[in-house]
Symmetry: C2
Subunit: 282 residues, 2 copies
Amino acid sequence: MIDRQTKFLIVGLGLMGGSYARGLKRRGYTVYAIDKNPDSIAFALQKGWINGGATMDRTLIQQADVVIFGLYPHAMIQWIQTHQSDLKPGIFITDVSGVKCHIVDAVQALLRPDVEFIASHPMAGKEVSGVQNADDAMFLEANFLITPTERNTPEGIAFAEEFAKILEFHHIAVLSLREHDEMIGFVSQLTHAIAVSLMNCNDNPHLHEYTGDSFRDLTRIARINEVLWAELFFANQDVLVKEIDAFTAELQNLKNKLIEHDEEGLKALFVQSTQRRKRFDK
Amino acid sequence: MIDRQTKFLIVGLGLMGGSYARGLKRRGYTVYAIDKNPDSIAFALQKGWINGGATMDRTLIQQADVVIFGLYPHAMIQWIQTHQSDLKPGIFITDVSGVKCHIVDAVQALLRPDVEFIASHPMAGKEVSGVQNADDAMFLEANFLITPTERNTPEGIAFAEEFAKILEFHHIAVLSLREHDEMIGFVSQLTHAIAVSLMNCNDNPHLHEYTGDSFRDLTRIARINEVLWAELFFANQDVLVKEIDAFTAELQNLKNKLIEHDEEGLKALFVQSTQRRKRFDK
């Protein structure tokens, strides 16, 4: 489905789009990019991560065999509304969005029927943004999630799998939109909500003089792109609120063991968390 | 105060005691150890991390110029009660305990007046325990906290500082017992309570197939020694409960921004956490 003639178009050349471009180009594919910031295009061209690019160029859209959106969800929806008439018939489109339900439904509802949007989510990232920080090496240890709907075809799913294999993702999984958003609400959004709250609940400016690795690890992701993450949090609000409540109840349970001086109960919590965490270290 | 003739005695040759032994021996000091487990002594001897050791030997106690406790707090208090009559007059004693208020008061209240207990806390550790995992390299990036009381002398504090400099700790700080326990309740105990609760609040056995780095980072310390940490949590219970409440209130604040769809308020939380976290990356 993807071969040496395939022309990729990356729309939105930031950290993720840039990493895709870099990884595809490194493997000999033809990659073009569109980004509203001319500096991003110039940077990637100079690095040799794209064959060409522009802030806007209809011929780049018209010749693309695969389009990958590295845009924020709402910007992607607007872009498709404006430019979909220029897409080549029969092509596959995918994205990088961290939340799926409402966004995929919106895209598929407005998209031309002769183009297939197969949503995916590369579970990789950094605390910094921009094409300047793009690095396809982060995909080698990462999970790639494909989230088809009833509007997708087996060919669309196969295309997404082939794409992930080319970039050598560590693991590929196929989930429903709902499964994806519930899982992401837990492993990604709840963790960011916790890190941000942990960083914000104490304003001692000397903390860094005393802290150990634990606090540094738990707050690494408190450095957060507020525009992107506000959009992602609101797009998955119901799930995230439910996860915050479940986590808070568990933390209160631990607190109650402390207050009641329930030593065996507290140790049982530690034993359970240790056993569960070991599964991640295999 | 510490010189090439100084004989160190490590009581409790686990992860921390073993790392101290290894670091001191590497730098040419004379190090003996007492541990109830003969395998730990044999392992350290075979590695060359101690000059000698025993499960119990009064002459090792009688000849020691510095005694360092790598025991759990209550075990240390019991050991001192039983064996302090064998200590050489005028020596300094220190420990590794992660909580200070009640423990240091208890030790200083029962200790012979001609021996000085200057409490300290090396802010280093691993998710694994035992002398087999000892590694003094972890001190090079770590903070060393000294927590004197009114019973300590300037010489005692200077001894602890000299000890930390020999092991090349990254930063040395002097705090009161209360300051120490409040800070530890936040940066260490609250973070462990969060990690444990995050790991426990979702029992999906397939999480590791989907997760990204964020969840892995936030739950690394959910692998926890339940005996040690239950003791540390209960020893600092009042502070930890207060910190759990403050953190929970902050997380509820974030949740309320979501429910109220307060986009500017949510972004402001992200901007604040980002600014604060940057101080840790300098």
